[in-house]
Subunit: 135 residues, 4 copies
């Protein structure tokens, strides 16, 4: 990954994700964001399995989405991901969804809190995750 | 539960389950059957939590579905469930899906195998489950 | 509906909605909100079919969710809905999700824009919808 | 497409598709099959849009699935598709699901009936579809 070649999550809209209005039903964007998040971390050097092997996991505490356009059946899904703030125990990722053109159709922002897999609750972001988010 | 008042799983079609053809996308019937299975067992005296507390779980090994009609958005979903064969380690449930009328729209048959939650694999159907399936 | 007996959307968590962490995967809350929205309007006197018969539909332009807790398999889902702002062409609904207790586990806010079914785009909120939102 | 290089649908298991048992919940295989079906037809020279442009669509009338194994989060999904019978108005596709190894984990068979998009019901399989299925 480099500034010239940023990570982009790629998939295609499934038939079942499209509703009677002929567009992707809103909830599926959260499915895409989840895959884009793990893809982004893996591309940045931290496969999710490595995060969990270190005893950590993440949980969503906040998400927001804004729609300016829509995807239809078979459209390519292309999602850019970038860190948008890192605290002691939480971090934010921003998402931009494009289809077949350069127009941004949907944007999202999700705040994740880092937790311990042993049930110990909220914990400081581990170094490996901090490094991945630093890009 | 009695012969005169058999268990019927009830729900309503969600908007997101309906596709561009205006009917419930095929995979959601398996979601309904899963809920109907656990509802049936609970109605027959075996809540799923009790099955698992006894160290058991079930896994699908075979499912078949036949469509004669379709459900649309907001339609009631009504599913009758009946045992259709019990072996040493597996059992079969038959499903009949109705909507707002008495017409059977979809039928299904699923073969479940009983497994041990400790990872020990296939195991004999426990007495509590056998009793629930005997109706 | 009255102030003493506000509408509450009710369902139960399906097995398939629960992920490996043992809690409802985030996107399903948007599925619940969608059903709660149409249930709320119907309870307020405007079945969605009547809205569409009048040539109108709604589209999401913004959603935000905050998680304080989680739902697990079989948990009851109880969602209170209330209008949180009405403009000329858009309106906002606020959602509060509870499970088996009185604790609010998840909150949401969604901005909907009113559109014409004939493809004419954004349009003024029709009187029947405005009345339903006035409670 | 040739005998030496048959079409294979490829995707990866999404986190949300995995349940508390740690494996893909059964219904998602029907989501995969649907994408594999359209991918197969496109690879055979008939994009679904072309089928519909000709006034045709397909509907499922029967599906069966057999599970011998399971997919987990992040596993590759690889599905081979082959015609398994063609009648006057219906045809059958057979599916074989593999993950990271050559083991077949799930098999499926779906019978589709050809319908007219104008609501005219069941109709003879059009030549373009018959040709695509002939491989």
């Amino acid at each position: 990954m480099s500034a010239d070649d940023p990570y982009e999550y790629r998939a295609a809209v499934r038939y079942l994700e499209v509703d009677q209005q002929g567009v992707v039903f809103n909830m599926w964007y959260l499915a895409y964001f989840d895959e884009a998040m793990t893809g982004y971390l893996e591309d940045a050097g931290l496969p999710y399995a490595a995060l969990q092997a270190g005893g950590h996991d993440v949980q969503l505490v906040h998400t927001e989405l804004d729609w300016r356009g829509a995807l239809g059946w078979g459209d390519p899904i292309r999602i850019r991901v970038r860190p948008d703030g890192i605290g002691r125990t939480s971090f934010t990722l921003a998402f931009e969804v494009r289809g077949g053109s350069d127009d941004v159709l949907v944007t999202g922002r999700t705040v994740y809190v880092c937790i311990r897999l042993d049930g110990g609750g909220k914990t400081a972001i581990p170094d490996a995750l901090r490094a991945a988010l630093a890009g």
